[in-house]
Structures are given as structure tokens and as C-alpha cells.
Symmetry: C2
Amino acid sequence: MAELSHATVAAFVDDLVRAGVRHFSVCPGSRSTPLALAIAAHPGAKLWMHLDERSAAFFGLGLAKASRSPVALLCSSGTAAANFAPAVAEAFLAHVPLVVLTADRPQLLHDSGALQTIDQTRLYGSHVKWSVTLPEPDNSPEVSRYLRAVAGRAVGLARERPAGPVHLNCPFSEPLVPKDGWVAIPPDPGLAPRPSVELETAPRALAADQVERLLDELSGRRGVIVCGPQDDPGLIEPLLKLAEALGFPVLADPLSQVRGGAQDGQPIIDAYDAFLRHEPVAQELAPEVVLRFGAYPTSKPLQTYLERCLGARMLVVDGDDGWPEPSHRGAIFIHAGERNVCEAVLQAQGAAPTRSPSGWLEQWQTINRRTRSAIEEHLAKQDELFEGQVFAELARLLPDQAAIYVGNSMPIRDLDTFFPASERTVRFFGNRGASGIDGVVSSALGAAAAGGNRVVLVIGDVSFYHDSNGLLAARRYGLDLTVVLLNNDGGGIFSFLPQATAMNGVTFELLFGTPHGLDFAPIVQAYGGRHQLIRSWPEFRSAFGAAGDRGGLTVIEVPTERRRNVTAHEAVWEAVVACLQAPQLAGEVV
Amino acid sequence: MAELSHATVAAFVDDLVRAGVRHFSVCPGSRSTPLALAIAAHPGAKLWMHLDERSAAFFGLGLAKASRSPVALLCSSGTAAANFAPAVAEAFLAHVPLVVLTADRPQLLHDSGALQTIDQTRLYGSHVKWSVTLPEPDNSPEVSRYLRAVAGRAVGLARERPAGPVHLNCPFSEPLVPKDGWVAIPPDPGLAPRPSVELETAPRALAADQVERLLDELSGRRGVIVCGPQDDPGLIEPLLKLAEALGFPVLADPLSQVRGGAQDGQPIIDAYDAFLRHEPVAQELAPEVVLRFGAYPTSKPLQTYLERCLGARMLVVDGDDGWPEPSHRGAIFIHAGERNVCEAVLQAQGAAPTRSPSGWLEQWQTINRRTRSAIEEHLAKQDELFEGQVFAELARLLPDQAAIYVGNSMPIRDLDTFFPASERTVRFFGNRGASGIDGVVSSALGAAAAGGNRVVLVIGDVSFYHDSNGLLAARRYGLDLTVVLLNNDGGGIFSFLPQATAMNGVTFELLFGTPHGLDFAPIVQAYGGRHQLIRSWPEFRSAFGAAGDRGGLTVIEVPTERRRNVTAHEAVWEAVVACLQAPQLAGEVV
């Protein structure tokens, strides 16, 4: 049996670092010792230690999203590795590059009753781009060369679009540390600062005839651009230029990144979720062509609008070669880089696009502006702690260069409705690959660990509870995170669903309302955070300001009530309808 | 598209209940609505609601272990289902019957960018006995009949040895509730109280020539029986009878269930972990034949003893048709029911086994008795809060019919060393399928939910932190659980491993010690539990008594120190060696 070579392990980790992995989210364990030691010893590796693998994996996910670079995870063998599964699925669907390292027992301990030995082969099923069980790292030149090559390949594949997780299962035989003591092996300073294997991926670029077809589909039509969740800040400028050239409104999902750094006059539509609920407006704004970027948009009214206008041509641009169109209407799928599509259409020689008919874009902008005003006026008249208002407040309070991470279920939807486009540069994060409520605290802390931005997490109480273990990282690493905890004591979104009225209240509360009655203050304090229960908007504003000044972890809890939250939302939508039906609007639109 | 029939869903749940599922561990979600409603409405189903799927699954696992009957899990689609993965792996390896119901989006929403849609096909890989995606439950007789049949089949397969989890993936199309309101559909009182499909499995029984071979291997030899972790209380009596007939000692793993209800004179050896560390004794006690039952034993000294005596014949009885022999020495594997093996050998007509050579069993019993005394005398001289002593205390304090659930890593090992066999009936639980530190709190609460026994959980701080979410079930359902929390502020077991001395202290603490500094009192209190930090054994005893009287959740925290814990263990082993080397022993043995 070949002997474990710590030099070979160190070289493997060194190549991960050379290939671009800076951050390693690591959990304790014996079987993972060789890798953990090599990571701890590498001057280019930042090691983040976590005690809960589920939180560790989501922390890595948030860090990879915020840093836009691959992050490695490491855990011991057994169910530890299964705890990575939720974040791996999210990373696969959200195209987040992760290098998932799971330590394993060697083959000769499998299927034989050895401890902490599960079947880790293809443990993450179809939710990884590549899964391989590595040979044990002995000191033979062949294995050392192979492992270095695997490191570069794994990082390259994790990054290559569609980015995503790769799984390297790493068996180690005992002894896991040398008998005469372990000594750190520094990276060879004589080597070039590159991994032994690199990957260059040629981008897809539209051919001339494809650009022409696109131009033909888009020119001179009543068209809209829908930009769903996407993470590339570099897309915004060409996309808005294209929209301006075409005279198309850009319906900007909050996670499209379009709502940050917005400038006056740009064709950004941010209130569609409110006004497309109003059927006459949705009909009046029926498009002839829809050009989509990013994932499927979050807004249900927008989804309904898109699914109803079956007469319109739908063009779905997906640089991740995906198929993000759950309505299965007729569509043209365009597998090409999103920036390339925008730039190619704009630059098409001798065939610049003609704009949409006069008044089309202006009609959208007018309705959008009036809707925003109606929402703002409505909110200004209320002073109750309404969940939607949190986002209107944050839109004013967030400093430039801040990042907002939103939980799934209600926060992402309220962000959509209540957070207008702003000239301030804000990054928007959410786990919308699988849209789970799990791991959100850790994801936000991972984003905070990337540094550079003030990160604010807005999250509901069930999701906060679900990943309260994640708070340990805030304490351990002194991370700066402001959490706005919307506590309605249970699952708020269900009150908006047909379930809320289809059964008696007892059954509804049992299965969907699920009140827990938790007091989060002591939990937050146990993790070294400051907890503040607020009772008014002035208190909220001052708590938010103080949290930023103080740094560290602050949880600002906004207590709300689930049923009241529904009627408060309905009141907003009624105010919007009232404004849309007002005669001035008809005048303006015509 | 066929319409969802709630009557068909109710019939499916009804057949799960008729087939023997009494408990359903359920998490909130929209997609799982039809199943959740049917479960809530069924008078024979007990619904346990949880907000964290990982905890919910382990709760179901503990409930299934303690009730020795299949438990169903239910969650919504997406990463919710991935959170079940750790408990499913544990259940598969530990042979615990679970029916895992995962709601799913219908096929036409897959691979198309729909929300909360991951690939749930074979989500648990090789860690389930059966995995199938069900048809949507419409009202056709074919589908209704099929789903009823699947229910009986799933429960039958989950129970059939090797028991384990089965996975039924359940897609549902909207609307998930009828527009005119949902009405509970009671089970048809006219039906027989049986499921439409039942499974009868004929047990394996040894043929006469196989019994003869066994007799031949076992008779008149210096043999030992090793009983590893196993859950069948019915095995103990025939196993001890066989041991007595053969004159073999029974080396009884704490999870073998042999240590509870022990009677004077039975050949139970419970101190092997201490005395087999002493090489001369291990050599003197080298066997000619080893008869093994249950999973591979926990004790490292026992493992070493078994792996060294290569000259001995090894017989491994596994009624789960497994291969629990990680040392890969020569062995005879016997795939037959364990009780059948014991009874067949005992009853072999005209060929009753001859006993081991005179003095063999007595030698084991003498050494065992002396070792136990040495440990007890050593502990009696100490009054520090030593982790091992907790188990000696519990051995005295646990009432008859109590159950002890032990965490992995150190608690199971200290249980092995310090918890002697006792005439009181005690059930012993641990998650030794994959031996993870995850989900242990929830597993113990699941065992408590089964009712009937006082359940005491002994757990380390990292494991307690890992599943602190599980505590919500204690609060929600007023479950009675006494937790003895051994808090050494980090990963205590690593101080016993070669890692502890192979590197500098800073690196060791970073990667293995992993102190967290958590104050668990406020966390326990937030979940409605009583927390008591104890400083002495009298305090421990009084806290333990009060916890039992009071009921509900009590966490008795025993603060210890990791390095000191190692030297305190070493002192015990030294005391054992001293006693084994004493001249009286030599006299007694000879």
C-alpha cells in the first residue's frame, strides 16, 4: 500500500491556489487531515473553519458569489459530506463555482462496516459538473502530476460557463500524519505562478447571419427586455445601451443587478410587479417581442404577463446554455454570451436596429413612474411595521457600494416590489438556483467575508432559524453583517397562497403557518451578535445606522403579523390600481 | 393534464398507515400540500411538524429506532429534500426503516428554470433500498390502485431486512388545493385494517449441514462471542444461552443491548476496552475462534485484538446480509437470522456443543471483574468532572426501562469503557451507521417521542451545536429529554489521535481543537429548555434527579477540558494496568 505523501497533497493544494482558489471553507475531521494541513500551511490560501458542514458549504457559496471566483469546500468522510448537498445543488443551479473536496476512507474500508464510511461516489448526483474519486496521494511522479493536473482542471471546469460545483472525492489511508511529526511544505518559489494545467474557453460569439436574424426579430417592434437574476455586472451597460437603441423597456428583476447604479432616463422598469397585477394595464402593454436575459424572473405578475402574451415572439438568451423557460411557449433560445448578444446587435454593420414605435417606451416609463409614486405615497401615509416598507427604507439607507442579500419566500418578492432602481451602486444577492430557505445566513456571511461591501441580509424568521448555526462564523471571524430579521413567527408566504383560504385556520396554522414562538435575542447574543427589536421606522433607521458604524453582527428584528401582512400588501396593490385608473394616467399614456 | 385527486392522495396515506406507519415527520412547504393535508386528516397518523428538514429526518430516524417501526418523512421540493440526505445515509447504514416522501414539481417544470426544482431522481444515490418517482395522483382507478400498492410495498421493503429507507418522489401539479376548499377524506371504514399490498418475508434458517459445520467450528475451543451494535432485544436471551453452552465470553459493545438487564453469572464482558489495551492480557486471551454478531464493535482495543489474532477462525453472523468486517481477515460469513443461528446451534439434535476448555471463560470473567473494580476504585478517588465518570454516574442513576442515546466521537467510547452491565433494563442508542456527529439531538428527541422510556442523551458540544435546531421539537411538543452536555469547547476526540502530537498547538487548535466559546445556556433557554451548569458530582446527581422529576427538556452541562481529559483517561488505563499486573491476578488467572 503506497504511503501518503504530504508533499503530493501540498502540491495539489498549491495548484488549486495557483488556479485561482483563494478561499477554503473547511470543517474539522480526522480523515481530511492531510488536506486541512496543506491548506492551513499555504500562504495563498485563506482558511475559514466551520463546525457545521451545511453552513460551511453555504458560506463558501456566498463567498464564491461575492468574490466571483471559485471557492473550495473541505469536509471529512461520512454524513459530513452529505451535509454539503443542499449548497451543492444550489451552486449547480445558480452557476456558482465550487471545488468540493470530500475526504474518504480508502476503497478497502468500503462496504465492510468501517466507521464514517458512506458511498461518496457521485454523492451529489447530477448536481455537479464533474465528480471523480482521486487516487491516494503517494509520492510517485505519476500520481503527483495527475493530482496537480486535476487541481487545475477542477478549477477550470468550476469556472467555465455554466459555472458550478465539481466534486473531488479524496480517499486517504492511515497514518494521516507522519509518525515523526508533520512539517509544512511551502510552495516551490521557483515555479511560475500558474497551475500546471490551465483552461482557456473560447466564448461563443454570434455569427453574422444570426445577428441579422436577431435584428430582424427586434427592430421596430413593441418589445420588452426582461432581465432576470444574473450576476455579471459587466452586462448592465451593453444591455441598457441595446434597450435604448431598440426603444425597449428593461423589466429589471431585483437580482438582475440592473437596479443599482441606475441613471436618469435609462429605460429601467422596476415597478412591473405592482402594475402588471392590473389586468387592463398588462393587456395594454402586451408586447410583440420579448428578449430575455438571466434566470426566469421572480415576479409572479411578470411571469403571468409573459405566459399570456403567446402571440409575442420570445427570445431567450442564455450564455449558460440552459433552458430557463418553464412556460414552454414558442421561443428562440440563444446560446451565446449575453454581452456578445447586446454588443453584436448594437454594432451590426449597416443594420442598426430601428426603435420601437413612438410612445411605447414612454408608456412603460409613465406607468412605472406613477406606480412608484403611488407606492411611495401609500407607504408615507402608514407608520406600521410593514414588511414591504423595509425595502423602501433600505433603498434610502443603503450606502453606495453596499450589497443586499435577500432570503427566499417573501423577502425576494418584497425586494422586487418595494426596492426601486437607484443611482447608488448596490449588489443584489439571493439564492435563486433552487430558491431554498436553507443556508441563507451562511451565504450572506460568506458574501461579507469576501470584503469590500457592507452586506445587509434581509431574511424571514423560519429561514433565519434554519441556518442559525451559520452565525458562528460571524463570531469566529468578526464578520460585519447587518441582518434585518422579518419575524412574523412562521411561514409568511403561505398566507398569500391558495392554501390560506382552502382549509380551516387550525389546519393552516399546523401545516403552513407553523408558529415557533422563538425569542431570537438570546440566540443572537450567544453568537456574539447585537440584537435589537425595533418598534418604529425611526428606531429602524437609527438601528441600521448604528449597526453600520459599529460593525460586527447586528440583528435588527422587525416584528410583523402574517395575516396583517397580506392585507397591508393588498392595500398597496389597491393604491396602485387606483392610481392606474386615475384619468390623468389615461391622458399621459395617450 | 390529469387533475390532482385528494381522494387518491388520502388513500395512499391511508395505506401507509395500514401498512404500519404511525408517525410522520413533516416539514412545511407548498408543493407537499396534498400529502401534508392527507396526513393531518388521518386519524391513525401522528404528524410531527419541523422547520428544519435535516432535524426532521433525524427525528424520524430516532423515532423509527425507538419504536422499531417505519416512520415517514415528508418535505417540499428543492434543497429541502437534500437536507434529508444525512439522515437517509445513516438510516441506510444502520438499517432503520424510513419512508422518505419528497414532493416534487411535475416533469414539465423540470430543467426549465422553474423555482425550487432540483433533480430529485435518485437523490439519495445508493443510500436507499428503493427509489421511484410516482405518477401524479389523479382519480383514475389505475393510478389509485398503483399508489395504494406502492404504499404497502414501500413500507414492506423499508421493514424487510436489511431494513432501511425507501424514497418515493411525489410530483404534484397545481392547483394543490381545490378551488372550492379542501375537505378531509376519512379512511373508508368498510375496508379491512390492512394495506392493499402486504409483504411476508420468509426468514433465513440454517440448514442441518450448516448447523453441523458451525458446531464443529465452535465446539470445545477457546472462543469468544463479540456482539457489536444491534437493535434486537430478542437476540439477547438466545445469544447468552449459546455463550453459556459454549463457555464463551460475550464481549458486549454498549450498543449490543447486552449490557442492560444483565444477570449475575452471565458471561458478559463489559470492560474489554480497558483491559485489552494491555498487550500481555490481549495475548493471553487470544482466541481460537471468534463468533461475531452485530455491526463492527466500537472499541479500538477490541478491534486491534480481533485484527491481531489472525490464527483464529472468524465467523461473522449478519442477518442483514452484510459484510461487517473491515479487517479483511479470513472469515466465514453467515447470512442467517441471528436468533436462528443461536437457537439452531443450541438445539442441534444429538450434537450439543461442547464447552470451551476449563478456565477459559473464568479467566475472562476474573480479568473483567478486576478491571471494573480498578476503574471504580480509581474513579472513587477522583472528584474532578471527568467525562468518563459521567457514564459511571449514569449507570447508577438511570432508572429501569430508561434509554440512553449517546453522541458519536467521545461519548460512545466513554460509554463503552465506563458503563458496566447492569440488571436494570436499559436501551442503548447511537447513530453508528455512519457515526456522524450530525442530527444526534433530533434523533434522541425522536426516541423520546416514541414514548415509554425516560431518554437521556449524552453528547459533546460540537455535536450539540450542530443540531441545536433540533431542540425546537422539544419545545413544540413538550418532549421529555435529559441532555448531558459534555462541553470541552471543541473537538475532544482529536486530542486522542496522532494529530494531537504531530503539529504545533496553534495548527492543532485551528484545525482540530476548534474552540467555539459558545455559552449554551441562552440557546437552550430560547428553546424552552432548562440549562444547568454543574460543578460537582453531587450537583450532577441532584440535577439529574430533578430533570427526571420535572420532565421537559433539561440540559445538564458538564464543563471539561480537552487536554486534561486525555491525561484523566490515561490515568484510568494506568490504574487498570497496575491492577492487571498485580500478583493476585496472576494467581487468580492461573
